[in-house]
């Protein structure tokens, strides 16, 4: 079993209103050194099979379901292999 964390975020060209609002809130706390916040989401998935097959599955579910390529992009990290 492999634990994988898939990160889905807006593409750079897409306006992220949550990130913008949170950035403003951080500035109102006085942390003006924080220049930009981007909000995304992550999915922790447990996948069976060898590591090559796991990567293939992760790419497929991301592309078919988890990511809307009009707006979003993704990357993933292999958290641990058991």
């Amino acid at each position: 079993m492999t634990n994988v964390r898939i990160f889905v975020t807006y593409k750079e060209s897409v306006f992220d209103p949550q990130g913008e609002t949170i950035t403003e809130a951080i500035h109102s706390l006085g942390y003006h050194e924080v220049k930009q916040v981007h909000v995304g989401k992550f999915f922790d998935v447990e996948v069976e099979g060898n590591i090559e097959k796991v990567k293939e599955t992760v790419a497929q579910i991301s592309e078919q379901l988890l990511v809307n390529f009009n707006l979003e992009t993704y990357r993933y990290e292999i958290m641990e292999e058991a």
Binding site: S13, V14, F15, P17, Q18, L66, N68, N70, L71
Partner: protein, 228 residues
């Protein structure tokens, strides 16, 4: 013509849509559950507003895996009329029947109010009863209504006259090019964030949405007669 109103788990404008067609327009209309696999016998299909599958993952993202979706896609490809309002529009983009996507409103809030729209194209099957450039008012009620598409897609939409409705007063949600509703390239699929089905009776304060349904019914009839 016979019209299907698809009911997904979490649809909540299905009755409004049904009644606009049945009670106000006296059209032949029936509910079709998301569990069905066929649209045999129908000439048009309408996807209602609401929160199908709780808007989980992204609005409309899960509905596209419903049993009924292959039939809707086949229907659209056959050139039959497909209409989606609000969540129905989101589902149509997620299913790839319309380009682009609907994202969180720029102001992050759920907005429920009446807005001013411009009829940017009255030469579609859905808008022939409106005047070109006419300004109408329709209610909106959404949190994820900010239309986004890449530059090339926007240019294509504009060039082909696929932008059918545009926000004419303030842009409530940050939609690019003030887009409130678009068709596919063939013009037989329309998706829009405003709710015409909530504006079909003067008694309820607004009937600007009525002509959209009348346009579909009229153009459906013309199509049927041409086929005979």
């Amino acid at each position: 013509m016979k019209i299907a109103v698809v009911v997904f788990p979490g649809s909540n404008c299905d009755i409004d849509l049904y009644e606009a067609l049945h009670t106000v327009c006296h059209a032949d209309v029936a509910y079709v559950s998301h569990t069905q696999k066929s649209l045999a016998g129908f000439d048009a299909v309408m996807l209602p507003g609401g929160f199908s599958y709780g808007d989980y993952l992204r609005s409309g993202a899960i509905a596209r895996f419903s049993n009924i979706m292959p039939a809707i896609i086949e229907f659209a490809q056959a050139g039959k009329f497909v209409f989606g309002t609000c969540n129905g529009f989101q589902i149509l983009t997620e299913a790839g029947l319309l380009p682009g996507a609907l994202k969180r409103n720029n102001g992050l809030k759920f907005i429920c109010k009446t807005v001013e729209l411009e009829v940017s194209n009255n030469q579609t099957a859905f808008t022939t009863q409106y005047q070109a450039g006419e300004h109408i008012s329709l209610p909106i009620a959404h949190a994820d209504g900010s239309y986004y598409a890449d530059k090339a897609t926007l240019e294509k939409l504009e060039r082909n006259g696929q932008v059918v409705f545009r926000y004419a007063g303030e842009n409530p949600n940050g939609s690019l090019n003030n887009i409130a509703g678009i068709t596919n390239e063939q013009g037989n699929v329309l998706g829009m964030m405003p709710h015409p089905e909530r504006a079909v009776e003067a008694l309820l304060g607004n009937e600007d949405g009525l002509r959209l349904f009348k346009s579909i019914l009229e153009n459906g009839k013309i199509k049927e007669e041409a086929a005979l």
